[in-house]
């Protein structure tokens, strides 16, 4: 039996609700985007219902402490197809067992969730580290990113607390939405880029006059801080994987 859901978090939680309602035995949960009908397998399409999802979430809140609710949410944000199935079975497992079952690291769903959460938290932390703002002519600090996982919801508070006195935009170019902080709160935005605009690096004409100066100073600093006698390229690339270099001011040649 395959359960198909719409890919949303409420959809996933509704699927858990439906399973307990029907108890159809062994089930595999798949998102509609990747579902391929199979000839001899039955499938059931879950209709997302917020009141059902809310009840399941409230149930999880009763059974799990904050750290595990966060792991659950992070695993969902990974957007990995297999993660949805693990989340579904994890939730069922939690409801079917007495409190504390989440610390059973011998269980495959428990260990899977803790691994997804670890990857997503690592990506979140990398975004907190590797995002580089560029100041535009109108005083806005802009950064375009395309993280491996959907981490914008996780980094919003960090940047809001930290950059409370400057307007900023962090835009996820892959998922086509972004965050804008307007000195009071953070809003979700979408930008329609006109053709020819370099989304990751806005043109120099749009920049604050001192932007280039500070970028140059930062690149100089990066070079000066290196100790040539200790060169260790392998370690360098391990800490800053090449796919992130495009964000990093200090890694740009010009």
């Amino acid at each position: 039996m395959t359960y198909i859901f719409d890919g949303s978090l409420p959809g996933l939680l509704t699927a858990v609700f439906e399973w307990f309602e029907r108890k159809p035995g062994k089930v595999m949960l798949k998102s509609i985007n990747i579902f391929q009908p199979e000839a001899f397998a039955e499938s059931f399409t879950v209709l997302t219902a917020s009141e059902k999802a809310d009840r399941v979430w409230a149930g999880l809140q009763k059974k799990l402490k904050k750290d595990w609710l966060r792991k659950f949410y992070c695993s969902y944000l990974s957007e990995i197809p297999e993660a949805y199935n693990h989340l579904f079975h994890f939730a069922c497992y939690i409801f079917q067992n007495p409190a504390g079952a989440e610390s059973n690291y011998g269980n495959e769903n428990v260990i899977a969730l803790s691994k997804y959460a670890k990857s997503v938290e690592r990506e979140k932390h990398r975004m907190e580290a590797f995002i580089r703002f560029q100041k535009t002519g109108d005083g806005m600090f802009y950064a375009g990113i395309d993280p491996d996982f959907n981490v914008l919801p996780l980094i919003s508070n960090h940047f809001k607390n930290r950059y409370a006195d400057q307007q900023w935009i962090i835009y996820d170019l892959k998922r086509k939405y972004g965050l804008h902080y307007n000195l009071i709160n953070v809003e979700e935005i979408t930008i329609s880029f006109t053709n020819g605009i370099n989304k990751a690096n806005p043109a120099a004409v749009l920049m604050d006059e001192k932007e280039e100066l500070y970028a140059a100073l930062w690149k100089d600093y990066f070079k000066s801080a290196n100790i040539v006698a200790r060169k260790n390229t392998k370690l360098h690339v391990q800490h800053v994987p090449k796919r992130y270099w495009k964000y990093l001011t200090e890694k740009q040649l010009t």
Binding site: Y163, A164, L213, F222, T233, H239
Partner: protein, 419 residues
């Protein structure tokens, strides 16, 4: 300010500061509650890594590299023929604010050569901190060097604005220090470390009685030793580190492999490779002391005054103490599980939680994150294969070395590979 001049100053003063290895930005507790700039992140953030693989989280600069001292191991020593420069207070403030706003850095690491005298230097450092905190509403991280010999009042005031303060021991023993820097002594370092530590303890006690006491060096103190410039043993180094952790409640001791910068015959000659492997083994020992419940005497003693080069100190201890092994994963104490080679803190915690739900098997241990190929020589679990014979520690060492390749051993063979 002229761009070219600032650029030149930054190059000189960042270059001179880079031998200070501490770049940690953790442990800060400052919150952005004044709608200013910056908010600390409890575990710290490394914003980038240099090509030598070291983290860059702070803007690490000297206020000036003019110095009245002539310490042999230091690039800024008086007799060294290098370009000298000095930042103004405003220049440092402006650089810090603008780097921070672009998310380049977690904060500022400010040190300085000693110009005129200790108090004069400390005053300037303090001025930078006060400007950032009071005028710019800056709540980011500040790591400040305590200048040995500065007055108690200045140090005390600096502690109110800095997150971390540090003073470097430089050489692991007094004898080593006297050899290279006759004007300095460990006592100069101990006095201010002790003073700051006592202030921290006093404020912690007051906090129990008064609700609002000012923050005072919330991320604690640290120090640094240069390794390999003088002939100390690993035991000398780690016993000193251990004493400083104990006596002054230090957050960190850093070990910095000496990078040759002088032609003086008392030290390794120019072009000598920095002792990176030794440095790594010392950090491993440091971790074993702080997070794995090892006493320094268990790892280093008169019989073993230096750490093994080919294997890490945890494995080395296990092999010398085979009477404790094998350990039964399903019944052993958490403390004993921590001592098994191939099992780290996270895995050990998961094991003790998971085994409440049933006895653990090999495949579960692997999924939990245990380095099983290493750990298998030291553990038993439900489905461990039956061992016909007891292996000697030396045999186990040979097994492990045969299947692992140290990252420090560069392809050394001139042997042709035919197949």
């Amino acid at each position: 300010m002229s761009f070219d001049r600032i650029r030149e100053k930054l190059n000189i003063l960042a270059d001179a500061a880079k031998y200070d290895v501490s770049c940690s930005s953790s442990g800060g507790t400052r919150k952005n509650d004044n709608k200013g700039l910056g908010d600390s992140h409890s575990s710290g953030i490394c914003h980038t890594y240099t090509e030598d693989g070291r983290c860059v989280s702070l803007l690490k600069i000297l206020l000036t590299n003019h110095c009245i001292y002539d310490c042999l191991f230091c690039v800024s020593r008086k007799s060294n023929d290098v370009k000298r420069a000095a930042f103004t207070v405003d220049e440092v403030v402006e650089l810090t604010m603008n780097f921070y706003r672009r998310n380049y850095i977690e904060g500022l690491f400010l040190s300085s050569g000693i110009f005129k005298n200790a108090d004069f230097t400390m005053e300037r450092l303090l001025l930078v901190c006060k400007k950032l905190r009071l005028e710019q509403n800056y709540n980011g991280y500040i790591h400040l060097k305590t200048i040995p010999g500065a007055s108690d009042e200045l140090i005390k005031e600096a502690g109110l604005y800095a997150d971390r303060m540090s003073i470097n021991l430089e050489m692991p023993t007094e004898v080593g220090l006297k050899l290279l820097a006759p004007e300095k002594s460990h006592a100069d370092v101990i006095k201010p470390l002790d003073f700051v530590n006592k202030q921290m303890i006093q404020l912690r006690d007051e906090k129990k009685l008064i609700k609002h006491v000012p923050k005072f060096v919330p991320a604690g103190q640290s120090t640094q030793m240069v390794i390999g410039a003088t002939p100390e043993s690993d035991k000398d180094i780690m016993y000193t580190a251990n004493a400083f952790y104990k006596n002054f409640a230090l957050k960190r001791v850093y070990y910095s492999g000496y990078v040759p910068i002088s032609n003086d015959t008392r030290m390794p000659i120019l072009g000598t490779q920095p002792p990176l492997l030794r440095e790594n083994r010392l950090y491993q020992t440091d971790w074993l002391m702080r997070f794995y419940g090892f006493k320094v005497q268990e790892i280093l003693n008169d019989a073993n005054p230096n750490l093994d080069v080919d294997i890490d100190p945890k494995l080395s201890w296990a092999i010398r103490n085979m009477q404790h092994f094998p350990v039964d994963i399903n019944t052993a104490d958490y403390k004993m599980i921590l001592r098994i080679p191939g099992i780290g803190v996270m895995s050990a915690q998961k094991i003790v939680q998971a085994r409440k739900f049933g006895k653990l098997r090999i495949d579960q241990l692997k999924k939990i994150g245990v380095a099983y190929n290493r750990a298998k020589h030291f553990i038993t679990c439900v489905d461990s294969p039956y061992q016909m014979r007891d292996y000697q520690g030396t045999q186990i060492k040979a097994f492990i070395l045969a299947e692992s390749q140290s990252k420090y051993l560069k392809t050394d063979s001139n042997q042709m590979i035919l197949f």
